[in-house]
């Protein structure tokens, strides 16, 4: 095997008194894809940041081409050919796609910017990823997947010797993921060393040459990826068997409508949405990215202007504002935890109770009760944080997602819409979350799950609505709840669904 | 003999006249401290009435003043606190602006604001015997400014002088420059300008000069800034006169108070420092080349 380009030897890292990495060894080789997997909070992102110079190691050595190095900052690492794509978006929201693409290394024509040139180059790289986002659009208006594609395009354009990618596929669809993996293969062929994390083990299986598995800051497996199958990987990560990912579905009780929606329209995004949600039911919402699922339900929950009639428990209701929704027992969990879900510079306690402060306060907020609720949530959602007083922005991505779930559930909504419940969540926790959602339904709550992961919708939901171009394309349930049927509805190719073939591999 | 402390409380140097007054106050304090070993001075400048009240409270609470010389920012708000000082047994000298209650101060060294306006108005009327169109620049909106303008209006009433417009130039060169430029755009014919203050007169003159207009016969400022008095003395036709309002009145007040305190023969009563018309004939008397103002 070729010599490693970049390697860590016995690297440890502490934040304050908490050590999160305990002597990690990892080596990246040219022309190979190295996958790094592990539970949420295992230390994957931290490892990657150390390799790319974003954070210093507390102890241990980093070797580049066999020589020990210390990077003063990421600029230095980048100058040595190491480029990283962050788990968190690393974009200036008020700037345009092109401005972000070239941020920090703008092309110039004499004294001035070569805008035409930069537009063309940005366009070229985005096209390579089949990303249609316009180069003059302001980034804050882009969907998450386009933001991720922009980050990837930016990294690709840097001619890296080592490319480090932290969960690049978390917000991508299968199709986009395929495009990305295509690019990764091309880079590999070109001799680039690639480090890659994902909680989607099928991707890991499909692309990785080498594999490192981490648990609680330790490396527990290191070797060729081919030696383990997905089950073994999951087991090595979680330390227990996770073969039954989805809880069993109970027999459907007599339908008892809780939420009735008729003719809901969210101008510009969705029209003529009608459906009924029953007590104790989990309703899945499937559809392609951009099919308007998020907007529909944000409209329903009063977060966007909308029209249409909504009945809750048979009573017609007007939901103009998010607090109206909550008053009717309707909760919404956003797909965008960073900018809409959590206050990143506040503690877990403050975030957890933000939506349900009323329940924790008479005249004053009962901080003891809050702490108790946090303890409860940490247990129930398996939130792993070194320190309870940690700022939420310093939690690992998956643990943020768990906290967001806990926050939404703390308001005890009767009806809850969960948009992309398991983005960035490890497989062990996924199983726990699915159990949790099913348990909620069993308690008599009604749940809508919007998800871009086909298996999640099928495995979890009692019934699936498929959306296409802002309308409901159809409903599937029982035996018809198959990937094939859903894809046909989502793509509007009823009856001639062979295009959906690539999915079957999953 | 133990040391006596005199507190001096004046408004901060936010415009030309106040700047001159600040200069004279500091100069008097330095001179008197050097002359009388047993005198100590506390000088505080205030940017608004509330700050001035605080200054006086501090002097009373921490410096045990035996006398206070105060040039009130405004009469009303200062009346109570100065009364407090008087009740504590200290000597009180009030300068320029009277308090709103009579009989508080031991000594009153007064400027004459209505008189300032009246003298200006009378001069204006005498220079324009056949009447004429004038524009007026006012100071910062305050009682002082109101008194001056009222005096001026009273003196010009029925003389054929038409006041085209009045705007606030805030005793500021830049503001008066801007206002005058706009007056010049607005009125095709202006016979004279009452700038009511020499700082404002400077701005007005610059605006007129830049416009190249010939119709304005003269500009009447006020307060006796040395450059302006010099030009009157030299017979500059644009600045034929000035009206005094000497910022040095503060020094006079401090001096009388100090002498009174030291000699144990206090001089009480009222000194009115009237506003005098300065013309080329008598300008020499009012020209102090060493003054900063």
């Amino acid at each position: 095997m070729s010599e490693p380009i970049l390697s860590l030897h016995g690297v440890s890292r502490s934040f304050g008194a908490v050590e999160v990495l305990h002597g990690v060894d990892i080596a990246l080789r040219p022309g190979r894809v190295h996958a790094l997997i592990g539970e949420n909070g295992a230390g994957k992102s931290t490892t990657m940041k150390i390799m790319a110079g974003y954070q210093p190691a507390t102890s241990g050595t980093i070797r580049l081409d066999g020589q020990p190095v210390t990077f003063a900052d990421m600029a230095e690492a980048e100058a040595r050919g190491i480029v990283m794509i962050h788990q968190e978006f690393n974009l200036a929201e008020q700037l345009t796609v092109e401005q972000n693409f070239f941020l920090g290394r703008e092309l110039k024509k004499g004294w001035l910017l070569d805008k035409a040139g930069m537009r063309a180059v940005a366009r070229e790289y985005l096209d390579r990823l089949s990303c249609a986002a316009h180069v003059d659009r302001v980034v804050s208006g882009l969907p998450n997947s386009d933001k991720q594609m922009l980050e990837i395009a930016r990294a690709l354009s840097r001619d890296a010797r080592v490319l480090v990618m932290d969960e690049p596929t978390a917000v991508l669809t299968y199709a986009e993921t395929d495009i990305l993996l295509e690019q990764v293969r091309a880079l590999r062929a070109h001799g680039t060393a690639i480090l890659f994390t994902s909680h989607k083990l099928d991707e890991v299986k499909a692309i990785a040459d080498d594999l490192t598995i981490m648990r609680d800051g330790d490396v527990v497996y290191s070797g060729p990826a081919a030696d383990l199958d997905e089950h073994q990987m999951a087991e090595a990560m979680v330390g227990r068997d996770v073969s039954n990912l989805f809880p069993p579905k109970p027999a459907a009780p007599a339908p008892q409508p809780v939420l009735e929606v008729a003719g809901l329209a969210v101008p510009g995004y969705a029209d003529d949405i009608s459906f009924t949600l029953n007590r104790g039911e989990i309703l899945g919402i499937a559809g392609l990215i951009g099919s308007g699922r998020t907007e529909t339900f944000e409209g329903l929950c009063g977060l966007r202007p909308h029209r249409g009639t909504v009945r809750i428990h048979g009573r017609p209701v007007q939901i103009r504002h998010p607090w109206d929704a909550l008053a009717y027992g309707l909760g919404y969990l956003t797909e965008d935890r960073k900018t809409r879900g959590l206050l990143l510079n506040k503690t877990m306690r403050e975030n957890l109770t933000l939506q349900s402060l009323g329940a924790f306060s008479g005249w004053m907020i009962d901080q003891k009760a809050e702490e108790a609720a946090l303890t409860q949530a940490i247990g129930a959602f398996d939130i792993r944080a070194g320190d309870r007083a940690i700022k939420v922005g310093n939690l690992s991505g998956g643990n943020q997602q768990k906290l967001l779930l806990a926050k939404t559930m703390l308001a005890e909504p009767d009806i809850v819409v969960i948009d992309e419940p398991t983005r960035g969540i490890d497989i062990g926790t996924k199983q726990q979350i699915y159990d949790f959602i099913r348990a909620l339904a069993a308690q008599g709550r009604s749940i809508v799950v919007i998800s871009s992961e086909m298996q999640e919708v099928i495995g979890l939901a009692d019934r699936v609505l498929v959306m296409r171009l802002g309308r409901i394309a159809g409903e599937v349930s029982g035996d018809r709840m198959t990937e094939d049927d859903i894809v046909r509805l989502a793509m509007g190719v009823e009856g001639q669904g062979r295009e959906a073939a690539p999915m079957e591999a999953r | 003999q133990d040391t006596k402390v005199i507190g001096v409380s004046i408004p901060a140097a936010t415009h030309g006249w106040a700047g001159g007054m600040n200069y004279f106050a500091q100069e008097a304090v330095e001179r008197l401290e050097a002359t009388y070993e047993n005198l100590d001075f506390v000088l505080a400048t205030a940017s608004d009435p509330a700050k001035q009240v605080s200054d006086i409270e501090d002097m009373l609470a921490t410096r045990n003043i035996d006398a206070l010389v105060v040039l009130p920012f405004e009469s009303e708000p200062l009346t109570g606190p100065v009364q407090g000082v008087a009740e504590s047994g200290a000597w009180v000298t009030v300068v320029d602006r009277g308090l709103s209650q009579e009989g508080i101060e031991d000594l009153y060294v007064a400027g004459d604001n209505p008189g300032f306006g009246r003298v200006s108005g009378e001069y204006m009327a005498s220079k324009l015997p056949d009447g004429g169109k004038i524009v007026v620049l006012r100071g910062i909106p305050t009682t002082i400014d109101n008194e001056r303008v009222e005096g001026f209006q009273a003196a010009t009433e029925g003389t054929g002088i038409e006041i085209l417009a009045m705007e606030h130039g805030n005793w500021n060169r830049d503001d008066s420059f801007t206002v005058m430029q706009d007056f010049l755009s607005k009125y095709p014919e202006i016979d004279a300008v009452w700038a009511s203050d020499d700082d404002m007169a400077i701005g007005v003159l610059a605006a007129i000069e830049a416009s190249g207009r010939e119709d304005i016969q003269f500009v009447l400022g006020g307060a006796g800034m040395k450059e302006m008095v010099k030009r009157t003395m030299d017979g500059d036709a644009m600045i034929p006169a000035n009206v005094t309002y000497p910022p040095s009145m503060i020094a006079t007040a401090i001096e009388i108070t100090a002498v009174g305190l030291v000699s144990n023969a206090p001089v009480s009563g009222e000194f009115i420092i009237g506003s005098v018309l300065v013309t080329p004939e008598n300008a020499g008397q009012y020209y102090f080349p060493d003054s900063p103002f």
């Binding site: 977060l303 998010p322 607090w323 402060l357 009323g358 | 608004d48 700050k51 921490t62």
Partner: protein
């Protein structure tokens, strides 16, 4: 679900408080030491009372400003608003004098006027900022000009004065108190305590911090962002009214120069106290320290004649910067 290694419910480190907490207090102590060194009367009851009482106006306003800034807003109009309310209060009381005579009712009328005008003014600022979505800086810069003009106009360019008899009757509200503690100090203390509780332990304070930190997240957490934001301005308006109630008996008048630059002083106090200008984090007790630091600088400069009075502003500016450096330096270290 499986039990996991829950970290012990550790409170934020108990040991030494950090420099962001110690910083402003330290700066205050240094100033106190300097004051004591320069003048033996510095710690006299009279001087301490004076300093505290005169801090009360800015202090009461700054408490309100803490909430506005914490919620990501700003209010430049408070100084002019105070001047306007004072003018209005004086006009109303003078006008009612023939009907009501001197007595408690007319004072109550004046107070009610101030409170009502404060609430209305705060509401106006707030509604423009929240409903029309205009930058707070612009709205309050505009209303700053408007109130300042209005008071000049009400006073006809001069000074509005409370009837003398009335003033004598009203005077004790500033100058008296209970147990030797002046009313302004008592009111200030009450406002601070309520403010600290509201900021730290009430839903309102939590919501302000959430909105200032990220208003999208607040909205998605079902917080009525516009209402909370509006409330901060209304609350500030109310406190400006309260401050004015204390201010009028002190000076008995209002003019165009009343409350000049109070807005800058209040904002500076808030920031010296450790509240973040861009919002998201605020502390009321810090603001109190900020206010005291600013008042003490003025007081100490009056205690001595070390420097030319022309340079007072420079000393003041330098101390403000130093006080904050002390705090930040610590932060970098700790």
């Amino acid at each position: 679900m499986t039990a996991t290694q829950t970290p012990p419910a550790r409170a934020p480190r108990r040991g030494l408080p950090s420099m962001t907490v110690l910083g402003p207090i330290l700066a205050l102590l240094v100033l106190l030491a300097i004051g004591m060194f320069l003048n033996e009367n510095f710690l006299s009851h009279a001087n301490i009372t004076n300093v505290l009482a005169r801090s009360a106006f800015i202090g009461i306003i700054a408490v309100g400003m803490t909430f506005v800034i914490t919620a990501g807003g700003l209010d430049l109009s408070v100084g002019s608003m105070a001047a306007f309310i004072a003018g209005l209060m004086i006009l109303v009381m003078n006008a009612a004098l023939p009907a009501l005579g001197i007595g408690v009712p007319i004072i109550l009328l004046g107070m009610a006027t101030a409170v009502a005008a404060g609430l209305a003014a705060g509401f106006l600022n707030g509604i423009l900022i929240t409903s029309l979505g205009i930058e707070a800086f612009i709205v309050t810069l505009g209303s700053m000009g408007i109130y300042r003009s209005l008071v000049t106009w009400l006073a006809d360019g001069g000074t509005l004065s409370l009837d003398f008899g009335l003033r004598t009757f009203y005077r004790p509200v500033y100058y008296d108190g209970i147990l030797g503690i002046g009313w302004p100090i008592i009111v200030f203390a009450v406002v601070v305590i309520l403010g600290e509780i509201a900021m730290r332990s009430a839903v309102f304070g939590r919501h302000c911090a959430a909105i200032g930190s990220n208003d999208q997240v607040a909205r998605y957490s079902s917080i009525n962002v516009n209402r909370v934001r509006l409330m901060t301005y209304v609350f500030l308006g109310l406190l400006v009214g309260v401050a004015t109630i204390m201010y009028v008996p002190r000076l008995g008048s209002a003019s165009a120069s009343t409350g000049l630059l109070w807005e800058l002083e209040a904002i500076a106090a808030v920031i010296i106290g450790g509240t973040v200008l861009k919002g998201g984090f605020g502390r009321v007790w810090g603001t109190v320290i900020g206010v005291l630091i600013l008042s003490l600088i003025g007081n100490i400069l009056n205690l001595t004649d070390l420097v030319s009075p022309y340079l007072n502003g420079a000393i003041q500016g330098a101390i403000i910067i130093l006080a904050v450096i002390l705090q930040r330096e610590g932060r970098a270290g700790g």
